[in-house]
């Protein structure tokens, strides 16, 4: 198998752990010393120095620069990680957020300006989603889910109906049942129909007086729009239950259709997906929660209040679930999301969703002749292939994912959703040009062809990355989690 020249090349540097370079007094930093030494009366301070590496500045800079070169980010190439919406991260957002770095939350004057801006953001998010009110404090998507589920729990409690069951479709993200469990609900899995959609007729069999709500993702993790959603919402409301929407896939529909209009009562967003803020290699994200009127009394504390153009935090809501974050969430991420919305405007938001779906459907059209597409119905911003055809030649989804790295792509999401055998979940996003989509399609085609003729070579990918396949079994059996355990 010959490799197309990868656009990503990783250095062949083995970068040792930084503790290997430590040596007493190597670090010559001059830290600020505005005050004179004095007696630290009563304070017990051992003479020993804290146990961190003693290295020079240049070594630190080289170390982390080298490490960065072992990573793959969006700026290097396409990152079609399904359900994660890895779109371009505009730099203006970073620049604007850096302006707020020195604002302390106790600085009421400066905070008024920031709160005014994030209040404005919450208005736009509510407009895009067709919801009535929101909280911006949850620090990530799963945190938003948990906040939302706690709101439902509180609403039911106040209503005098402590229901205990939340229904979750079999295509749901794993965070959904986990968030329910943290909030003390039991979860019941509902099977999707053969076409990958949740059916009102199936849901009906699961509804009873104990059902607090349904957590739905729309479009779902197969990329399919849940077209019975209105009927589903009506059925839930009839039953006194809430419809919760996981907004992870909002990028497919923003400006096109609104969850509030579908009958959704409460939802969360992932600003680090839909609204272009970077994911930072695992956060900080942001997971605002939006609600319809009836759930406003239960939103977490604080809220944002304003009088005479002065914005501040309000603490007067007796029925609130309480605080979910020690401060007011990932404020810098909120400011980045607002900057993103300013850049796009109403038209750009709609255009982003449209091109996200067109790009995904282009790839789907290009790839479906070569791969099994288990759910052939219409899809929006992402689609899911299976490894059924390649599996006949003992080539797995994992083999193909690793092979993509050698073509200079981050692999798609793999083995999720669970309803698809060897799932390959592809979400190109709106910010990929046609040329890049085509290059990806050709890489997939080459892999599909290799799977037929030279399948054994696929078991060895990747070969152009900083390391070959990592032995996750070794890691789990040995559990070396710090350099002291090495």
């Amino acid at each position: 198998m010959s490799y197309r020249a990868s656009i990503v090349s990783f250095p062949e540097i083995k970068e040792p752990l930084l503790n290997k370079r430590t040596s007493r007094d190597k670090n010559k930093i001059m830290t600020p010393a505005p005050f004179d030494a004095c007696d630290l009366e009563g304070l017990d301070t051992p003479e020993t120095l804290p146990e961190i590496p003693d290295v020079s500045q240049v070594e630190t800079i080289r170390h982390f620069t080298r490490l960065s070169r072992l990573n793959f980010g969006i700026d290097q190439g396409m990152y079609p990680l399904g359900s994660c919406t890895m779109k371009h991260n505009p730099r203006i957002c970073e620049e604007i957020a850096s302006k707020m770095a020195r604002i302390h939350p106790a600085d009421d004057m400066a905070m008024s300006g920031i709160l005014e801006k994030v209040f404005e953001l919450s208005g736009y998010l509510e407009e895009i989603c067709g919801m009535d009110a929101s909280t911006l404090w949850p620090a990530a998507g799963a945190h938003g889910e948990l906040t939302a589920i706690m709101i439902i729990k509180k609403a039911l409690y106040i209503r005098g109906e402590p229901r205990r069951t939340v229904l979750i479709p079999d295509t749901a993200h794993g965070t959904n049942p986990a968030s329910c469990a943290v909030a003390g609900f039991r979860t019941v899995n509902i099977p999707s129909g053969d076409d990958g959609m949740l059916k009102a007729s199936i849901l009906k069999e699961y509804l009873d007086g104990d059902v607090a709500g349904l957590m739905i993702t729309n479009p779902n993790t197969l990329g399919i729009f849940e077209n019975e959603i209105r009927a589903i919402a009506a059925m839930l409301h009839e039953n006194g239950s809430y419809l919760y929407m996981d907004g992870a896939n909002l990028n497919a529909i923003m400006g096109i259709t609104r969850p509030g209009d579908m009958g959704v009562d409460i939802m969360h967003l992932n600003l680090h997906k839909t609204f272009g803020t970077p994911h930072g290699g695992g956060g900080p994200g942001s997971g605002p929660v939006l609600v319809k009127k009836g759930l406003v009394p239960f939103l977490p504390l604080p809220d944002i209040t304003h009088t005479d153009n002065r914005f501040s935090l309000g603490w007067n809501r007796d029925t609130s679930i309480g605080m979910v974050h020690s401060s007011t969430g990932n404020m810098a991420v909120l400011i980045k999301a607002l900057t993103y919305i300013y850049s796009l405007g109403a038209f750009g938001i709609r255009q982003a969703a449209t091109m996200a779906c067109i790009n995904a459907n282009y790839l789907r059209a290009r790839l479906s002749p070569m791969f099994n597409l288990p759910y052939p119905g219409a899809t929006l911003h992402e689609f899911v292939l299976s490894d059924r055809d390649q599996g006949k030649n003992q080539v797995t989804t994992m083999d193909m994912a690793k092979a993509l790295m050698d073509y200079g792509f981050h692999p798609p999401t793999v083995y999720f959703p669970l309803v698809v055998h060897g799932a390959i979940m592809i979400e190109p996003t709106e910010t990929e040009p046609l040329e890049e989509l085509e290059r990806f399609a050709q890489a997939m085609q080459a892999i599909a062809e290799t799977a037929q003729e030279h399948q054994e070579s696929l078991h060895n990918n990747p070969v152009t990355c900083p390391c070959e396949r990592v032995d996750e079994v070794w890691a789990a059996r040995n559990l070396v989690l710090t350099w002291d355990m090495e």
């Binding site: 083995y415 996750e472 079994v473 789990a476 059996r477």
Partner: protein, 129 residues
């Protein structure tokens, strides 16, 4: 597929070795190969009472967690500590070194509900398809 003839089996792919009123329990060759590389075995404490059909422990591979079910009711008298440090024994030697627990049975008659080797071979063979 290795299925020793002197053992009894469950539909959840546990094996049971009976010695008087004591039952030694582990998982079958079929089960370990389906689970892949086992990286952690979680077992209960000695003296725990268990009910037939309940969960007594879990097996973890890198990407999955599986419950292990109790084939008979009784009290756990021994557990295999070695599996804590060497979970790979489950893959290497599932019928011998990777025994998991010993139960003093409340009702030895419960074992009649278990499959013998030939019945299990048929059952596991069907499941493999």
């Amino acid at each position: 597929m290795n299925i020793p003839t002197d053992l009894r089996y469950t539909k959840d792919h546990e094996w049971v070795r009976i010695q008087e009123n004591m039952a030694t329990i582990g998982i079958t060759d079929y089960a370990q190969s389906e689970l892949g590389d086992i990286v952690f075995v979680e077992l209960p404490e000695v003296n725990t009472s268990v009910k037939k059909g309940g969960v007594f422990g879990t097996l973890e591979s890198v990407k999955a967690v599986s419950d292990i079910y109790t084939p008979v009711s009784g009290v756990i008298t021994k557990i295999n500590d070695q599996l804590e440090d060497e979970p790979e024994l489950v893959n290497q030697n599932c019928y011998d070194k990777a025994w998991m627990i010993v139960i003093r049975m409340d009702d030895p008659a419960e074992i009649t509900a278990l499959m013998d080797a030939s019945a299990y071979e048929k059952y596991a063979g069907a499941e493999a398809k």
